[in-house]
Amino acid sequence: MTTPPLLEVRGLDVEFTTPDGGTLHAVRDVSFTLRRGETLAVVGESGSGKSTTALALLRMLPGTGRISGGTVRLDGEDLATAGEDRLRAVRGARIGMVFQDPMTALNPVLTVGRHLDEVLRAHGGTDKRARRARAVELLRLVGIPDPERRLDDHPHQFSGGQRQRVLIAMALAGEPDVLLADEPTTALDATVQDQILTLLGELTRTTGTALVLITHNMGVVARSCARVLVLYGGTVVEDGPTAEVLTRPRHPYTAGLLAAVPRLSAPSGTRLTGIPGTPPDLSLPLTGCAFAARCALAEDRCHTAAPPLADAGGTVRAACFPAAERAARAALAGPDEDTEPPAAPPVPARIDRPAPGRVVLTAESLSKTYGSRRRRFTALDGVSLTLAAGETLGIVGESGSGKSTLARVLAHAHPADGGRILLDGRDVTRPGRAELHAVRRRVQMVFQDPYASLNPRMTVGEIVAEPLRAFAIGAPGERADRVAELLRLVGLDPAAADRHPRSFSGGQRQRIGIARALAPEPDVLICDEPVSALDVSVQAQIVGLLTDLQRDLGLALVFIAHDLAVVRQVSHRIAVMHDGRIVETGGADELCEHPRDPYTRALLAAAPEPVPVRRVPEAVSA
């Protein structure tokens, strides 16, 4: 600990001006240090200020964002007040950046060679041949095969993972001391994410570059970083070695977040514990701890005074009054006394699920092809499945595997090209008008994007009442009561009926979508990635809601997701999709523990697992 810090951030504050003139305090008093060669994860949910913090380091804040306080010292030089010339010299050369979406971060009309060449020229490479040689070297470094030839290819000729590799090569071109990676694997499939994280780990080891990895995924943190900084509501709540923080979280928020993360090792039917409530509104002034409103352990002082980031035992620092006191008591009592985490997460509960009943929905060798004669894309290729009442069938697959198409074909949103769909043994593959109406009443769907799947012009009441109206359920005068009942069923205040979707958060919107799907009292509910767009703490709430509804209403659920861990916990059976086919199907626990298909094994191996909190923590390795 004698080397001076490479990057030192002290009391960083970032503000945005909202369109109606208010001030949004996105980052409050964030402090951390980064040493040479260190790997630091910045983890938090949406709105926690993690990306804003990263952008503020290079003063690349979008729109009305501005640093309103604090310092960012890189080798002693304050970047928060430096001139634009100095910043340009730092960007790329001292601090490189990798962005989230590799699909849009490369200019489609320039070759990959030109992209690299531009960066190298900006950093003083004058000899054209030397630049090209260096570009080849960089591509080889990030693991692109046959780099000499690939240099002249355009971005569309590369896969998503390869494009992310190119972006990493560009960030490394200036041989930076710090590599900032903002959600570098969020847009990628699990198997590709695994490769990119391995690459980043190797690069930091071999080049000595310090890595700041911004992510919402605890598994990614556990997999790739030595130290972790947990952000909540724009403030740092916990800072310490990854192994220590993930096994013995000191701050109640970190503990809650870890409990909410679905674990691949947990058996089917384990209930996830979400964090109740919603994140704080950053446009309001904050007094006290940002997490106090959702914290089960909050005391009076937590609401009135902001807890400082204090020593909370070991090398971990947490911004929590009770945690700091516990650490102080433990220090007095002796080094081995403090073994109890502050907010012991509840023991994972099993969901009592009734056994599945008779088969309601059967699909036989469904096929679906998109495109014209010249460019055909087979989305579904002979997919067969059965679904029983009260049963959850999980469907897992990476992007492009055909799982969303399957959902839409089953819900009769798209017609199938071939095969049969049977509902209670009756063929409903190509229903007539009246029959389609009858089928739709029994098969409903919950959509992936809670922002796009609700009409912004309608009130929540109108949205939920629409199926009632379409299927002529109840007298028009009684529908308002039914809407209120449905909203209560999904855990919303019936007063929500008069407001528009825009005044609700993502999780609340997803509840509205579920209420709408439940309105005609369906037998089958098809959920197409219902939790992919949500934060983990909210994801746990929605998954819990779906399983409760299934138990109470005897619904047959099709639960589609790309995250095997969530699927295992909610599903009775799992079907793994790859290239439009179901490659393996079986009981949820059986499939996860004894996978037979090589693709299933690859998926299981690639899923990053956070350190299991249930086990006794082993000796902490630095």
Binding site: D449, N455, R502, S503, R516
Partner: protein
């Protein structure tokens, strides 16, 4: 004026931040400084046209012995034209004639364009037919179209209305067709379909309300264009038949006397500028509010 900012609604606990857009986005847009200025300018011109008989004692075609009288002549505050007609009267009645034409032509063009767009959305074959019709109309430059229509129908009020309406049909038609195509691909439309909602109701309750915003902006823009088209046609002598005054006709008449009597041209120029500026400001205010 009916513009007012919507009162801030109190939010029950448990909801997120304030709604990003107030309930009446259009009203809020017109309540901004830009919107208010625009509406005020348009309002003054419209009032002047509507109150023409009260604001002047002369008829637009009444002739007096004075020709080309200077502004400030007793009884003729803006002076008279070459034929001794009161310029204020001709200006005010000209505004009246202009507004009548625009108010008929733009909604007519918008309505026809929207109907064609709806037809195009109904069936792929109809879509091709409608699209090619729009291409055909757009292939003619505006003035050539104006001359062609006048050559067939003869000069007058109706050809001007038809020319403006015809020119606006593809503008509104394409805008609405694009909007429908974009909204139809949205997830909430799929959700409504799966929810059993009928095709007609999806169109009227889901798709159309979400395509309305750009159309509102376009109406304000089209009104501006219509002022120009009408003025240009009258100026070229293919518009409303003299002696009936329009802004373009008065301007055209003033051209030979521009050196001796510049005030002759000033009235219609200032009015057209005020009208176009007002409409543009209103359109811009609406556009900004909608883009947010």
């Amino acid at each position: 004026m009916t513009t007012h900012t919507p009162p801030a609604r109190t939010k029950p606990a448990g909801t997120r931040t304030a709604p990003r857009r107030p309930r009446h986005a259009h009203r809020a847009a017109l309540a901004t400084a830009r919107g208010r200025t625009g509406l005020a300018l348009v309002g003054v011109v419209v009032l002047a046209g509507l109150l023409a008989p009260l604001l002047t004692g002369h008829g637009p075609t009444d002739q007096s012995g004075l020709s080309l009288a200077a502004p400030g002549t007793p009884g003729h505050p803006l002076g008279t034209d070459d034929l001794g007609r009161d310029l204020l009267a001709r200006l005010l009645y000209g505004i009246r004639a202009d507004l009548g034409i625009i108010a008929a032509a733009v909604p007519l063009g918008a309505a026809l364009g929207c109907l064609l767009a709806l037809a195009a959305a109904a069936h792929p074959v109809l879509d091709t037919v409608v699209q090619r019709t729009f291409d055909l109309i757009l292939a003619f430059p505006g003035l050539i179209l104006a001359l062609a229509v006048t050559a067939i129908l003869g000069p007058g009020r109706l050809p001007v209305i038809l020319v403006i309406a015809l020119a606006e049909i593809p503008v509104f038609g394409r805008l609405l067709r694009t909007g429908i195509l974009v909204q139809r691909g949205r997830e909430y439309v799929t959700a409504a379909r799966v929810g059993g909602t009928s095709g007609g109701r999806i169109l009227t309750r889901h798709i159309l309300p979400n395509t309305a915003d750009p159309l509102v902006v376009q109406i304000a823009v089209s009104l501006t264009v219509a002022v120009f088209v009408e003025g240009a046609m009258s100026f070229l002598g293919v518009g409303v038949r003299p002696p009936e005054p329009t802004l373009g006709a008065v301007l055209s008449q003033s051209m030979p006397y521009l050196a001796q009597a510049p005030h002759f041209a000033a009235g219609p120029l200032v009015t057209v500028t005020a009208l176009v500026l007002g409409l543009s400001l209103a359109a811009e205010a609406l556009n900004r509010e909608i883009r947010r």
